[in-house]
Amino acid sequence: MTTTAAPKKLGLKERYALMTRGLDWQTTYQPMEKVFPYATYEGIKVHDWNAWEDPFRLTMDAYWKYQAEKEQKLYAIMDAFAQNNGHLGLTDARYINSLKLFLTGVSPLEYMAHRGFAHVGRSLPGVGARVACQMQSLDELRHVQTQIHSMSNYNKLYDGFHAWRHMHDRVWYLSVPKSFFDDAITAGPFEFMIAIGFSFEYVLTNLLFVPFISGAAYNGDMGAMAFGFSAQSDESRHMTLGLEAIKFMLEQDPDNLPIVQHWIDKWFWRGYRVLTLVAMMLDFMLPKKVMSWKEAWEIYAEENGGALFNDLARYGVRPPLGWQQACDDKVHLSSQAWSTFYQYQAAAPFHTWVPSPEDMDWMAQKYPGTFDQYYRPRFEHWAEREAAGDRYNNGTLPMLCQVCQIPMLFTEPGDPTRICYRDSVYDGERYHFCSDGCKNIFDHEPEKYVQAWLPVHQIYQGNCFRPEADPTAADFNPLLEVITWYQMNVGVDNAPYEGSEDQRHFRAWRQMTTSNA
């Protein structure tokens, strides 16, 4: 055996450090604290930015190469899907509603994540963290673009896709994901890293992506599946950035622990509330089911998240407040949410329906002890009313939670028959919350959340009408006006699935592919 030593080549880590470190300098024209004005006000103490361990070693030139290849593959699949009328291979047109939910509710968040990481990358004084944030910022921009492109195929053929960006800033339930990200992006850079980099990208991302992407795969949507895989291949990088960010903060100074712990409590609960939409999609909107919300929660939150919090315990971090309640509520969440959307069908740009008897059996099997007891009777009642031509629509707008902005639809911990209400008084005004979690968040920072743009309040204040609307007209219908202001095609986008244009078109087009009728 021969062993010779040639001059050493640099290791990947050393090479990466040489290419990415030392790019910054001490400013002299302006003091550093003016160049990085957001670096200290949150109270996070950093003594040595050089202790930041680059979570991945990717240079920009390599980054472009990787991403270019992903794009090539993704667009080839999307084109093939469109050219082969892939939408007619879907299990059922009901599936498309989960895409409407994703495009209006999630894709705009990707864009906000792009902005957020660009902002944070500019704000953090450490160069390693800045490079990592820059790449994630670009990833997020790619994600929103590929999502728009892959779903634009559906916009040509199905209702409810045309005004997603407009709707995101206005429609009542879309204020849930919107306010979540607005909250994060208006926080300081370190809180943003815990909010999005850690809590969302690490603790909760699997619960968002896996259900949607597996749902796409199970229901024949190659296009959505491909953008999901393409985005997921970036997520591992995002997760490692979030993990490095939290480790870095916790290791830099013991005073950072209580601040980080509060952010973990807050952003776990904020993210969990947003996932209500995913729970409902998973259990009620997929024609062919992947797994129940309860099963997804058990794998991705209880098992994987539990392992993470076991490891974080070494730093003195405890599991987030609200963790146990989220685990307890896994058997109620989706049914409570879908019931709400069913009642407010007229105000949502996607279709809802009463689950079929088979789907209710599936729910009963997945949720023994709760579905048949608490939710089946309600759905069966609504099915009877539909059969009698008297579909139930709730014409009274719901009270919204001041923090998560979800209607007050959640029940008391331990009692699924009572709606949970909490409130706090701040500056002489009373504010309402859906849960202890949201109340805690408000009480810690009331001056931020009193500014919330709550859709229902705004409607009642008359701020959700078109400029030309005339509320004094004798035949003025405020709810119809709001929906028009949302840019929904009234009676089309917001119709019940039974009898909708989507249902008719899908049935007719599919028949054309299999017969000569």
Binding site: T2, T3, A6, K8, K13, K247, E251
Partner: protein, 353 residues
């Protein structure tokens, strides 16, 4: 037919025989490449082929995707050279690693000491004229008689004499290898050994005080490391905390006590977790992590810590060290992993600990 395998970023060239995997060749030459499953399924040993031709062998198409093959990646545990090959691995240059070649040797047992009721010290003389050089902290695979299996044991002695090895072996109830060593192995018997293996070694170039935390027969590597450090004149503070259940399970006490008496920079701190009250034991009581926390007043900053012992002890020690503000980059461990430990769901928060 054999080829040259050059491993970047080390720039080290080793021989690789026909049919031999790149991983095997690297390990046998003392170059540690990250690896786990050893048969092409997990992808831990993925490396870049910079130059030359390889055969991918049985690498799984999930662990090594087609586009990765096109980009010249391979799994070192399955890949075989078909020409001279240069690979680039994501390994950090470990300036203190000696990278000794792995060899197969035989050794003759010269002494067997009953160190405690459950631990035997097996001393053997390596028959090979070159001996079996190892770095303190490494281990050797011992071939079981009558079956094609081996078990790893840490070197417990100083590496100064390459012909001498000592393995301190705890009897594991029902364990094939330890039962054989405890009940059948005799002075004069021949051991079949392959080694040295492992990347557990002292990071001496860091030049900071060291804490060694050992539980039970996990004393082997720390003892070897400390003997080596002191023989080579190390003057940095060294603290050894050795935990056992009871006083009769402590061993090498006299040696370590007298070493501590002679060496002002070396502190030896045995601690007992289950010693009966009133037994006359005057030393520390409690677990290793508790003794460490008390001794260092919960402040471990500025040290490097080396941990060796059962998983529960390692786990408790890591938590204690981190709460005393010593973090992953300064903690090194040799963990004896059982199948149950390996199947535990772990988060990716930590890489090495």
């Amino acid at each position: 037919m054999s080829f040259d395998l050059t491993i970047e970023p080390l720039g080290q060239t080793v021989g690789v025989a026909e049919g031999q995997t790149l991983l095997d060749a690297a390990l046998r030459a003392g170059v540690y490449l990250p690896h786990a499953c050893g048969h092409g399924l997990c992808g831990t040993c993925k490396v870049q082929v910079v130059d030359g031709e390889i055969d991918h062998g049985e690498a799984s198409s999930f662990a090594l995707m087609d586009f990765e093959r096109e980009e010249g990646l391979c799994l070192a545990c399955c890949a075989r050279a078909e020409s001279d090959v240069t690979i680039e691995a994501d390994i950090e240059d470990e300036p203190d690693a000696l990278r000794l070649p792995v060899r197969n040797v035989t050794a003759t047992v010269t002494r067997i000491d009953a160190l405690t009721p459950t631990i035997k010290g097996v001393v053997a003389r390596v028959d090979d004229p070159d001996g079996l050089p190892f770095q303190a902290g490494q281990y050797v695979n011992v071939q079981l008689p009558d079956r094609d299996e081996h078990r790893p044991f840490s070197f417990a002695n100083s590496p100064s004499d390459p012909h001498q090895i000592e393995l301190d072996v705890r009897l594991v109830p029902g364990g094939a290898a330890t039962t054989w060593i405890h009940e059948r192995l005799q002075v004069g018997d021949t051991l079949h050994l392959a080694g040295p293996y492992g990347m557990f070694h002292v990071r001496q170039s860091a030049n900071v005080p060291m804490i060694f935390m050992a539980g039970g027969s996990g004393l082997s590597s720390p003892r070897s490391m400390i003997l080596d450090l002191l023989e080579r004149g190390c003057t940095l503070p060294i603290t050894l905390i050795h935990g056992a259940r009871t006083a009769d399970e402590l061993y090498h006490v006299d040696e370590l006590t007298s070493l501590a008496d002679r060496t002002p920079t070396f502190t030896y701190l045995p601690t007992l977790s289950h010693e009966p009250d009133g037994s006359g034991w005057a030393g520390a009581r409690g677990f290793v992590h508790e003794a460490a926390k008390a001794h260092f007043a919960n402040d471990f900053r500025g040290h490097k810590a080396y941990l060796c012992g059962p998983p529960a002890m390692i786990d408790a020690c890591i938590t204690t060290l981190m709460q005393g503000r010593l973090f992953e980059r300064d903690i090194y461990q040799e963990q004896f992993i059982s199948a149950a430990d390996a199947s535990r769901v772990r988060s990716p928060l930590f890489k090495r600990i």
